[in-house]
């Protein structure tokens, strides 16, 4: 098997193992030393590095945008899209005027494999695995839903207290190192202005809250921006998204990622559910990766551009 030697020969139209994605990250850094660096923000329960790619043209602690993919490990199209986004950012800087303007003032952070233990497990043991891989004391069931483990309405309705459930919240907020590492990083950075967490599937763009029906104070702006983002997304292949707050659009979910980030003061907090062909769920065929990433990129650009043009 010939390993790709650079990111140009990396095949974005197929799914990759975790080691291939780690190699991709290192290649991207090596090829773009003045733009891309790799930060290890922590370790997973099983000791895998939690890598974040930082795209920066300089400055200190610039206002920043966060993108993460793959917190639910079995949603492979998200890690694959994250890989594509990383290459896109590196390629478009200096070519695309909107992205260049953003990167001249802001940094972008991309965590491609947010739940590496789970991702490894999906490749090697159980393709259906969604949670982390930390054992739960007193239970034979393993793992926590890392999208119910955040300190935002933690333990409320819309998450399970049963370790065998797919939505098990964990023993306490931020019990999972995969979550705690992001929490610590976001807090220590202190200057994130947008936070986008990407899931699949069901074609939705959501903003807080999930744990309460109380609208966020920026609801009108987040709603309008979501509308713009999904309109841009649909312009490519006609993929139709729904949008709104989590609790009004899907269901009540406590301990969710973007509820926490919003409560930290990150106004532009969104979560995606990527495309659904209606036949495959999250077992999306590899030929769907690039179209999914391409259309999602348009929505991401809408959010990033708005964040750039509306400093707060």
């Amino acid at each position: 098997v010939a390993e790709p030697r650079n990111t140009e020969s990396f095949d974005f139209s197929r799914y990759h193992t975790i080691s291939e994605i780690y190699s991709f990250q290192d290649m991207l850094v090596a090829e773009n030393p003045n733009l891309v660096s790799k930060i290890v923000i922590g370790q997973s329960y099983q000791g895998r590095p939690l890598n974040v790619l930082k795209f920066s043209t300089g400055g200190t602690n610039r206002p920043a945008i966060w993108i993460d993919t793959g917190i639910h490990s079995r949603e492979w199209v998200t890690q694959a899209s994250g890989t594509w986004f990383a290459k896109k950012i590196a390629s478009d800087y200096g070519r695309d005027s909107a992205l260049t303007a953003i990167l001249d003032k802001m940094d972008i952070f991309v965590e491609i494999v947010t739940n590496p233990d789970g991702f490894y497990f999906t490749h090697n043991s159980n393709r259906m695995w969604r949670k982390t891989r930390k054992p739960n004391p007193g239970s034979s069931c393993v793992g926590v839903d890392p999208n119910r483990n955040w300190d935002a309405g933690f333990g409320g309705a819309g998450a399970s207290g049963n370790p065998c459930s797919e939505t098990y919240r964990g023993e306490k907020a931020h019990s999972e190192p995969e979550v705690k590492s992001i929490v610590d990083f976001v807090k220590s950075h202190g200057n994130f202005k947008a936070f986008v967490s990407i899931h699949s599937y069901s074609q939705m763009l959501l903003y807080p809250y999930g744990y309460t029906t109380t609208p966020v104070k920026d609801q009108a702006e987040l709603h309008n921006l979501a509308n713009k983002a999904i309109t841009d997304l649909a312009s490519l292949y006609g993929t139709r998204y729904r949008y709104g707050s989590i609790i009004n659009t899907i269901y009540q979910a406590s301990g969710g990622t973007i509820d926490w980030t919003y409560n930290q003061g990150i106004k532009y907090s969104y979560t995606f559910e990527l495309r659904d062909t209606g036949r495959y769920g999250f077992i999306l065929p590899a030929n769907q990766i690039i179209p999914t990433a391409q259309e999602t990129w348009l929505a991401l650009m809408a959010i990033m551009d708005h964040t750039f043009k509306n400093p707060y």
């Binding site: 197929r14 799914y15 043991s125 259906m128 065998c164 069901s202 899907i250 036949r279 077992i283 590899a286």
Partner: protein, 93 residues
């Protein structure tokens, strides 16, 4: 390695809020080992659930007894996973 021979993914559609609540109740039926890929949201949005082979008959009977409409979205999950694996290996070659 865990395999999924005979597991099906069913797409269930509710006609009204009452039927939606009946589907929601199924989330609590732990013994069936259902894996909700797309949970209960609203009447307009179907629910997708992976059903292990050993629960298929019970689940289908249950759905039919409640007059809940469903279709088989994925006939045999392992067949799809095998195709996915082959495709990855082929691309790697």
């Amino acid at each position: 390695k865990e395999t999924f021979e005979g597991h099906q993914v069913l797409r269930i559609t509710a006609k009204d809020e009452a039927q939606l609540a009946l589907i929601k109740d199924m989330e609590e039926m732990v013994h069936l080992q259902l894996d909700f890929w797309r949970g209960v949201t609203d009447v307009a949005t179907p629910v997708d659930v992976r059903v292990p082979f050993h629960s298929l008959q019970s689940v289908k009977r249950h759905l039919e007894s409640l007059e809940l409409e469903y279709l088989v979205m994925i006939q045999d999950l392992q067949v799809m996973l095998d195709e996915e694996k082959l495709e990855m290996e082929s691309a790697a070659r």
